[in-house]
Symmetry: C2
Subunit: 217 residues, 2 copies
């Protein structure tokens, strides 16, 4: 399994901060939608349920955006975090599996807003081929390779049953994919240069259920 | 925000172990599918990419299932973890929002297998009312309250846009829901007795993208 060691770590920014960045990004986006230009660390801390000192510590990593007594410049900080997260430019991606979940991801406008551009959605079921999903048509699995190579795609969402996920992931990697967003109910074994991010929905539901039914007994 | 302090904690089982239990459960399930009756901690550790001592430590919390030289009894351990996770009995739940994601969750057979029984799926769009999803029909939001009360439902998946998620969550809580599985792109503010489990897909994708595009530069 790939152990995560990012460049940020080298710059002295910890893994924990990086994990929190997408959430900062979302809150800053909300502030911009509300036409808020500046925000103090204490106000941001109230909204995000973090301590003000945690926020100051986290954001000090990026320097120059907070000024004592003036708070943070929302737009600049948003932009800077976007740069760090690499969402200031476009990233082509594909979805493998056009079941309900694959279609749900394909229709998620939030991804497009963050620079993720869907270049293909694939399924092994011939009945689905040609069906429209947004601007795209569902295509056979056999076409994945050419699309990946044409658009230099590195990101793929895996939305297929667990028994086929492993061989499909291996193929994707052989085509040049090195970022797997895995929704299949299995942990993928990948070479060191490949990164996986798992979304195991059943496990998430089990954790919720555990907390609801045990916590207050 | 609710701080998680489970009963297991009181029994001396740490939060970290509880977080790992659903994954153990899944691996044990796979072993049962492969008709494997017993497994050693070292073999399980290879499969799960944990150290054998980590596994022994984790599973020692449940006592009696591992025996030096004999390994773990897969079926018993699976059953015991199921009991701890409260999935040895049925939990009724509802889904709010019958967009692609809501439908995807409704069709997830894995949940049913783990005791989660869908009792209703609701949407504010009248065009969807009456449409079939499995054995259920999509119903108006106005019917949530009576269904929640009839089946004593405590779990709800929230699959609606973020601008309506907050008022809807408040209503759900007033009906008696105390476990929110939140897919809306917003952090819900809930009373202390309510538990939330967030699945923020955009943030997950941003983390993947960060790791793919920064890690090896």
């Amino acid at each position: 399994m790939t152990i995560y060691e990012g460049t940020m770590e080298k710059k002295g920014i910890s893994q924990a901060v990086i994990q929190r960045l997408p959430r900062y990004y979302r809150y800053l986006e909300d502030l911009m939608d509300q036409n808020i230009d500046r925000i103090s660390s204490s106000e941001l801390s109230k909204r995000m349920h973090l301590t003000a000192s945690q926020i100051r510590q986290d954001l000090n990593n990026f320097g120059g955006f907070g000024q004592q007594g003036y708070g943070y410049n929302v737009k600049n900080l948003h932009e800077e975090i976007g740069k760090i997260l690499n969402i200031d430019r476009e990233h082509p991606m594909i979805i493998v599996g056009a079941g309900h979940l694959g279609i749900a991801l394909a229709n998620y406008t939030n991804f497009r807003k963050r620079g993720f551009v869907l270049r293909g959605i694939f399924d092994s079921n011939p009945k689905l081929w040609g069906e429209k999903v947004g601007d795209l048509k569902i295509s056979p699995m056999e076409e994945i390779e050419s699309v990946v190579k044409q658009y230099h795609i590195r990101l793929a969402a895996i939305c297929i049953p667990k028994d086929v996920a492993v061989p499909v992931a291996e193929k994707l990697i052989s085509y040049g994919i090195d970022g797997l967003w895995n929704f299949a109910h299995v942990d993928l074994e990948v070479p060191d240069h490949v990164v996986t991010e798992n979304v195991h929905l059943s496990e998430s539901l089990m954790r919720l259920s555990y907390r609801v039914f045990e916590e207050r007994s």
